[in-house]
Amino acid sequence: MFKIVDARFLAENIKKFEIEAPRIAKKRKAGQFVIIRIDEYGERIPLTIADSNVEKGTITIIVQGVGKTTKELNMKEAGDSILDVVGPLGQPSHIENFGTAVSIGGGVGTAIAYPTAVALKEAGNYVITINGARSKDLVILEDEMKSVSDEAYITTDDGSYGFHGFVTQKLQQLIDEGKKLDFVLAIGPIPMMKAVADVTRPYGIKTVVSLNPIMIDGTGMCGGCRVLINGKPKFACVDGPEFDAHAVDFKNLADRNRTYREYEQEALKRFEEHCRLEKQIKEMKEEK
């Protein structure tokens, strides 16, 4: 059992948890992740370690509620526990002083990019961060990102805050302004990562993405997380999760990630129905 010591929403549907896992806190490096299982009936899902505190013995994860498991997780509060947390998994981010490094985060991907942005800064890079959200109220980690950036940009799809447009448009703007970019890290939804790869490819800018295929064990045992890199299968849980963006087959990743879409929708529907009933029962009890 792994105790949640702190839990708070950063934006609607996006929750930050601090979980007691002293050994993982001590060993983890930027870019690595954990696999969690909420309870006996739960599935195993990967979540990037956003931060850790060695003294407190905690790791931080940031969760966007999209499916049943993440929504159920986001109902947990400080004091609750998670049955299994295993990690740190995956290869740490490859960090060096590239020169000018751009960290791009889309949605909750911002949280995943954050630890690597910190490490890039510590390695002496001139760090530019571009963080995108659909609208102002979904912007997360703005202050944290600013504190590690030499230049920090926020983009919103609807223009309600920062730059009006997509992260790729901001990136293109920087390139057009003549900025020499040496390294780009992009983490977010698959279409966003693909779009970033398409922007940087003609300029030959080294670009890395963090992939999120479906996983089970996270140790290289099931092969379910295989992704095509230069047409060859690699296991994201042991060889990744970060890969050269220009070598990734994004269509294959997107296809494989929707394998269980129908099942996930069914599970979510059942879960929401269950929550609704529980709430009704609770209200009825309170009325009495």
């Binding site: 089970i216 290289g220 099931c222 095509l228 294959n252 099942y263 599970a267």
Partner: protein, 475 residues
Amino acid sequence: MSKLTPKERLKIPRHPMIEQDPMERSHNFNEVNLGYTAQLAMAEADRCLQCPKPTCVEGCPVHIQIKDFIGLIAEGDFLGAVKKIKEDNALPAICGRVCPQEEQCEESCVVAKRGEPVAIGHLERFVADYERNSGKIEIPEVKKSNGKKVAIVGSGPAGLSCAKDLCAKGYDVTVFEALHELGGVLVYGIPEFRLPKDIVRTEIDGLKKMGVKFQTDTIIGRLYTIDELFEEEGFDAVFLGVGAGLPWFLGIEGENLDGVYSANEFLTRVNLMKAYKFPEYDSPILDLHGKNVAVFGGGNTAMDAVRTALRLGAKNAYIIYRRSEKEMPARVEEVKHAKEEGVQFMLLTNPVRLIGDDEGWLKAVELIKMELGEPDASGRRRPIPIEGSNFTMDMDVAIVAIGNGPNPLIMKTTPEIEVSKRNTIVVDPETMKTSKKGVFAGGDIVTGGATVILAMGAGRKAAAAIDEYIQTGKW
């Protein structure tokens, strides 16, 4: 023992196992074999000639005293029989179910020369179950603590048996397991209908009662390196029983399509994550009702996958294997069961290409016919493609079950441990010592994918060597 002459004994036909009806069992996950009754067991034991030179014992990788335990069964002393087995085999209820007896003890049984061998496996299984059901499982005596700590990495048969012996000798033993459940392949690979998980759990509970400590969710190499186990955690020796868990793929076009699984993923979803109970359990598996499912391979893993596919509703479930039935590495009983349940065997056939639709889902497989040529390094005749014999078949799901290699995780983080070209850990075959001081290894990580009994035997051998190493300090 009843007074029968050898001639009379030889006349008794082998007693078949009682099984669930094939049509019924192909739709449920309950165990296929129901086991002998006491009466059947004693009658089968009467077939044993009590040979002065029991060749069966030589056929057994861990030299179980087969003649003696069968003699005890014939006398009705079932608990005595299981005790006798346990002198050499820590996991009889498991081995009685999954050992390839037909190429070990039973192949070497004298009676096999005249007809069918004594059903040694069924008898082993019977007495182990008898003991468990009687509630009189004997917890081995544990010597007073000697204050020395041993870390066991991996909770498969190799790790469990090593832990058991060392604990009995008075060591403070901790087993580290990467997954959330204990048992290795016994829980994530071999299905419930062949090896009920309760049996594995009972074994592990026994070890817990003895005082073995277990730590799940702990990947050695990630959470602790081997050096950290020695230096920070104070272990005196480490045993690596991490298995061969890295699935091989065919390396053909289309293997990343939706609907293509490794056998490990397919079986792990069903066995470990209980996806056959979706949505009660959260992990899904593709609904196979009305679907065509192809399994590539001819080993136990392939049989487990194809029979699981049937149980998940597959309309047609195929084994596609590039050699002939004779070369199949699977246990004979599994092949027989698979056939009875309606699995279709396409032998001397090999996949060439997996074909997808526009959306990336598997829709067909292209296959080629094979013929057998000269024997290869494994002694089996090499399959050769017959040019121009390609054909395609509609297929909804394909499962690749062509074997597993050793997982390189530990070796990557501990480069001092010598590995072979095949990525297996190199050990001294007598002591199971690796090239790193204080570190021993055994089971599939040393042999490559092999058997439960060999892993168990290796774990015990290592336990003896670890004891000697710690007591003498000599490496």
